[in-house]
Symmetry: C2
Subunit: 103 residues, 2 copies
């Protein structure tokens, strides 16, 4: 077995809550907080903590604006976050393939 793909897995992304958030953001230009929370069925506290970790890693940006007089907070992957996520998914794919080939 090649241990490299396991060693290289990014711990920031690997946590399953953050992996779900990154995957969700990878499929959209940006998403509102409430939309993410409801799709992932997370508590406010839980998703807030994960989003903060992702922001601190430089993987996610936050935008606050007013829409129709109401505050709206949206999140998006940064280009760095997108690169890190692509690398992570490619490693997962290697792990799956390695396992299925029995090596």
């Amino acid at each position: 077995m090649n241990a490299e793909p396991f060693l290289q897995l990014d711990r920031v992304i690997h946590e399953k809550g953050r992996l779900a958030i990154m995957s969700l953001l990878a499929a959209s230009p940006q998403l509102a907080f409430t939309e993410m929370r409801d799709t992932l069925n997370m508590t406010d506290g839980n998703i807030t903590a994960h989003l903060r970790t992702l922001q601190e890693a430089g993987y996610v940006s936050v935008t606050k604006e007013f829409q129709g007089g109401r505050p709206l907070t949206t999140f998006a992957l940064t280009s760095r976050g997108r690169r890190a996520f692509t690398t992570y998914i490619n490693l997962l794919e290697q792990i799956v393939q390695q396992t299925k080939s029995g090596k």
Copy 2:
């Protein structure tokens, strides 16, 4: 995006050190402690802690025997561990495919 595969990921297996151990054991009938430690480049303390967690979950069995007068400790996946690992890898595959299809 379908959040189910993320929610279903087994936390016991998902930790990257334990994922590496499970993958290694899935490819062999059994392995000696030292062989696993050296392949995965882990410290004794680290791999011991992970193996204990996997044993407590019922995923890994430990066998102690004497070989040529020397004690030999080997580890193997249990059938429950193999089932849990297969489920986990199938979920990873869904996550990879979902991501690659952009959904």
